[in-house]
């Protein structure tokens, strides 16, 4: 499946798709989107990279950066951000919102506004962690199907 057409298209399209996925994850509290959708877009870009490259290159790349580590980081980070609410409040309490914390702690004006990135409290952190988790999960599913396809072709 690694023809010249797919390789050239991937060289142009894959960086755009990856950047767009990161944008959707980071701006999840301002524009339509969020961790799940951005993670799915990012995973589709990685799937394009997986399809367009050779078996050995893909395998060595994912042995250097194992996806289970990203999955664990996402799950534990999400739980940790939820547990921040135990500092005086309840589980899942958004304690950073409107508190003046330097990262994502700015004050949101009520009503219609152009949208400021430095707001949202714990929501952007949770978006990032859930995005990491979703992209690791979906990419591992695609990778397993790709590997089994290549393996079956060798065996049968």
């Amino acid at each position: 499946m690694t023809t010249t057409i797919i390789k050239t298209t991937t060289k142009i399209l894959a960086p755009l798709i990856l950047v767009f996925g990161s944008y959707i994850i980071l701006h999840g509290h301002l524009t339509p989107g969020g961790g799940f959708q951005g993670g799915a877009v990012f995973a589709s870009g990685l799937a394009l990279l997986i399809v367009a490259n050779k078996y050995d290159a893909v395998k060595s790349l994912f042995e250097k950066a194992p996806l289970s580590v990203f999955e664990s980081i996402g799950a534990l980070g999400f739980l940790g951000m939820a547990c921040l609410g135990f500092a005086g409040y309840t589980f899942f309490k958004n304690i950073i919102a409107n508190s003046g914390f330097p990262l994502f702690g700015g004050k949101t004006p009520t009503g219609i506004n152009p949208g400021y990135l430095n707001t949202g409290g714990t929501l952007p952190y949770m978006n990032i962690f859930v995005g990491i988790k979703v992209l690791a999960g979906l990419t591992s599913i695609v990778l397993v199907f790709f590997l089994i396809m290549r393996r079956e072709r060798d065996e049968w």
Binding site: L30, G111, I112, N113, G137, I141, F145
Partner: protein, 123 residues
């Protein structure tokens, strides 16, 4: 009467999609087609949830650069069904991958995907 039917057009589409999904699950023998039927059912349920939350002439529940008419909360679409649909979509993707993995395993074990022929035990 005629007007009231066409007001509910999205719900009728949901009913037809549900019927197609149930037909595919009940009357097709190929396992891949059964998985496709389950996916159609899931799309119908997602469409039903989103259609339940729609408000006539409403705007998306996002304040970033919204048109000035959306400042009144009565003009915004209900956000809770959208959030639950979002959850449902991601779960659907993962579960469909799981079903396809089982289909691959069944094909490797029995050599066929026909549901009437894979009932026999094979060691």
């Amino acid at each position: 009467m005629n007007g009231s039917i066409w007001v509910n057009f999205p719900f009728i589409v949901v009913a037809l999609l549900l019927a197609i999904g149930f037909y595919t699950i009940g009357f097709k023998r190929n396992l891949i087609k059964v998985v496709i039927g389950i996916e159609i059912l899931e799309g119908a349920v997602n469409l039903f949830l989103v259609a339940l939350g729609y408000v006539k002439g409403g705007y998306a529940p996002i304040y970033t650069l919204a048109p000035p008419e959306a400042a009144n909360p009565q003009n915004m679409v209900l956000p809770t069904p959208q959030a639950l649909t979002l959850t449902s979509i991601v779960i659907g993707v993962a579960v469909s991958a799981l079903m396809l993995a089982f289909a691959v395993n069944i094909y490797k074990h029995y050599g066929t995907l026909d549901v009437t022929k894979i009932r026999r035990l094979r060691g």
